[in-house]
Amino acid sequence: MRLHELPTAQIAVIDKVDWEALSPSEMQRLREFGVDEGMTIEPLHRGLFGRGALACRIGRMTIAMRHQHANAIHVRVGDAEGAERSDDRPEDRIAAE
């Protein structure tokens, strides 16, 4: 499943990122934001006007990206516990809902 298909407020783990689909500077910036395999990510808000931007929580940051970036990020739902993040506790998910 791609990140842009993930419903809002659904926490998922990043499975794989198609880095080659992104430009070098986009790849660098996403990695600097902490986008990496094994990290948890949660879509928070969608922008306006059609395929608007997507705001996601990754780690303790909220980042905004476009459809093309979200399309390059593969995620899986269901085993967020297996992620290496420490702030992915059940109560956290409750707070986010």
Partner: protein, 620 residues
């Protein structure tokens, strides 16, 4: 002992670096530029605990030492000692956001690898606590091998300890870079940063996350755009409502000064120069200082609270449709204050074509220098009544003018992206910082810096062009007993008569043509130019001339269609030397500024013409 030690503040964007810089230096700041690049150099002075003075420099925020924009390049070059015009810092203060530790630690590790003496400011610990995060700074210090001081820059907490830790670190100021640096790569540092962060976190309890709660409203598909529109509308109404009283004081002050100068001088050139030229001309521009400060207040608040990036997020979809990114929204919104910092802010856009398009349309955003022009014309021609719901008609017209600029800019962007700046649309990747209530001192300091810049302009560009215009308007004098108006007979009147041949079809009169020439220096000069022209035209004997405002004089001389055409002209006209100069600097040549001036003048001419002809046809 030569210059005082240089200490650079480095850190990720949104780490609270600038707030820390302001808290450490207070008002002792100097704004400048790095030679050869247009990145602003912000420096200030502070004292170490042993009394030694240090020079602090606030470097642009960056996520790593691999730059993706000119701003980030400067940060890299300064800490590597390769930036022209800057020595290698004697020490660094690395600023980390306590609530975003693992991400910011990765950059800190990269910087620490350079081997420069460093102290870490673990900033915004109060906000981290608000989010239920408790940290152990000492554990972090042990792992990193450098002092770690918890700070709350906006409350001035931890500053003394920070300076205290900095004192021994600077030592005798013999800093040098580590020859090889470490071999750790991005992924290695990332892993290390995560491990360090985990070890430093004492406890973490879920608590109300203020930012997420606010975002649920501010980024909501329905309430979000309403809030944005409401804020912008409030901003433009506030520009009128909040500044009325101080503007009246300045007007009264200028009138009193004019009276005093009239009383103290004999009728003649000196009186005309002082009263018509200096006091009337410069005074008619300074009167807008309150409005400009209200506008800057809103812009500074939107930036400092973190809302500006939300506005960019909301606008990205729309910006994408015209081939821009949401990132362009921030420079464009800044351009409402002034296109010069707006154009400079485009440096954060990494895509060159995206950036060029943003630069080319930035002058269409209604800058504060247009406010004096709009305010005079609206004040004179638009009745001060409400259209219901407490909405003022004058504010509504002003809002429409701003909207006109925005729509024009979007149309221009769409056109440019399909022609001269054609290319693949770039992405939009941006961090959205936590909401924060800004320190009022920082806002006051920002407003003060803007006021000084405006008054300097009033004292230099506007003063000089006003005097030049006064001289051109005052000489030659019509012969004794002739009934030609002094302005028609003057050198300036003859120049204007020439220009007027081109401008007459779009409803402009000679006085407007006259005002447009000096207004090339700066838009607001149009107002002082009109004030000077009508002041001289009124003649020396007109006792009541100081009693009559410029607006009253305009009402007697201009038709409504002419006034509306004049407003439409200023929505587009590129009348500002500083904007043209900064465009030249940012695009490295004359090609793009020349293109910009050309297409904007054409747009202004067409807009003014269409407005005039429509108004005449409607019988206004």
């Amino acid at each position: 002992m030569n210059a005082s030690p240089l200490v650079a503040l480095v850190g990720n964007p949104n780490a609270g670096k600038s707030a820390l810089f302001n808290a450490l230096t207070g008002a002792r700041q100097k704004l400048g530029n790095y030679p050869g690049v247009t990145v602003e150099r912000k420096s200030g002075r502070a004292s170490l605990t042993d009394g030694r003075p240090i020079e602090l420099v606030d470097l642009p925020g960056t996520y790593s030492l691999t730059p993706t924009s000119p701003d980030e390049q400067v940060t890299r070059d300064v800490v590597m000692g390769t930036q022209a015009g800057e020595r290698l810092p004697d020490a660094l203060i690395i600023v980390l956001d306590a609530a975003n530790l693992e991400n910011h630690l990765r950059f800190a590790l990269e910087v620490l690898d350079l081997g420069l003496p460093s102290v870490i400011a673990l900033n915004m610990v109060d906000l981290a606590a608000r989010d239920g995060l408790e940290l152990d700074p000492d554990a972090l210090a042990r792992q990193l091998g450098v002092p770690v001081v918890p700070t709350v820059a906006v409350r001035k907490r931890g500053l003394d300890r920070l300076l205290g830790e900095l004192t021994p670190v600077i030592g005798d100021g013999a800093a040098a870079l580590r020859p090889h640096g470490s071999a750790t790569d991005f992924a290695g540092r990332q892993a290390q940063a995560r491990a360090f962060a985990r070890a430093a976190i004492v406890s973490e309890t879920p608590s109300r996350r203020l930012t997420q709660a606010v975002d649920r409203f501010a980024l909501h598909p329905v309430t979000g755009p309403l809030l944005l529109l409401g804020l912008l509308f409030l901003m433009f109404q506030g520009v009128y409502a909040w500044s009325a009283a101080p503007m009246a004081w300045i007007e009264d002050g200028a009138a009193a000064l004019g009276d005093a100068a009239t009383a103290a001088t004999q009728p003649g050139y000196l009186r005309s120069f002082l009263v018509d030229g200096v006091i009337n001309g410069v005074g008619s521009v300074i009167v807008f200082l309150p409005q400009i400060l209200v506008l800057f207040f809103f812009i500074l608040m939107l930036e400092a609270t973190g809302y500006m990036t939300r506005a960019a997020f909301l606008m990205d979809g729309l910006m994408a449709k015209v081939g821009l990114s949401g990132r362009a929204f921030i420079p464009l919104l800044s351009s409402f204050a002034c296109a010069v910092p707006g154009i400079m802010a485009t440096r954060s856009i990494s895509d060159p074509k995206d950036r060029l398009t943003t630069i080319l349309i930035a002058p269409m955003m209604t800058c504060s220098a247009r406010l004096p022009v709009y305010a005079v014309i609206i004040g004179a021609f638009i009745p001060a009544r409400t259209v219901g719901l407490g909405i003022g008609l004058q504010g509504l017209v002003l809002f429409a003018l701003y909207l006109g600029g925005i729509v024009g800019a979007m149309a221009a962007a769409m056109l440019l992206r399909r022609t001269v700046t054609k290319g693949r649309s770039s992405g939009f990747l941006m961090e959205m910082p936590k909401y924060q209530w800004p320190r009022w001192q920082d806002v006051v300091l920002g407003l003060w810096q803007r006021a000084v810049i405006f008054l300097k302009r009033a004292g230099t560009i506007i003063f000089v062009s006003t005097i030049l215009l006064w001289a051109l308007l005052s000489f030659p004098k019509p012969p004794e007993g002739s009934n030609i108006s002094p302005v028609d007979y003057s050198a300036a009147g003859r120049i204007a008569a020439g220009i007027n041949v081109v401008m007459e079809p779009i409803g402009f009169n000679r006085d407007i043509s006259l005002a447009l020439v000096p207004a090339m220096a700066a838009r607001e000069v149009a107002v002082s130019a009109l004030a000077t022209t009508y002041s001289i035209d009124a003649g020396d004997d007109d006792e009541a001339r100081l009693e009559r405002s410029l607006g009253d004089r305009l009402k007697g001389k201009w038709s409504l269609p002419t006034a509306l055409a004049f407003l439409a002209w200023f929505v587009f006209a590129p009348q500002c030397i500083s904007t043209i100069a900064v465009t030249k600097r940012e695009t490295n040549g004359w090609k793009w500024p020349a293109f910009m001036v050309g297409y904007l003048f054409a747009a202004a001419y067409i807009a003014a013409g269409v407005t005039y002809w429509t108004a005449v046809a409607l019988g206004l």
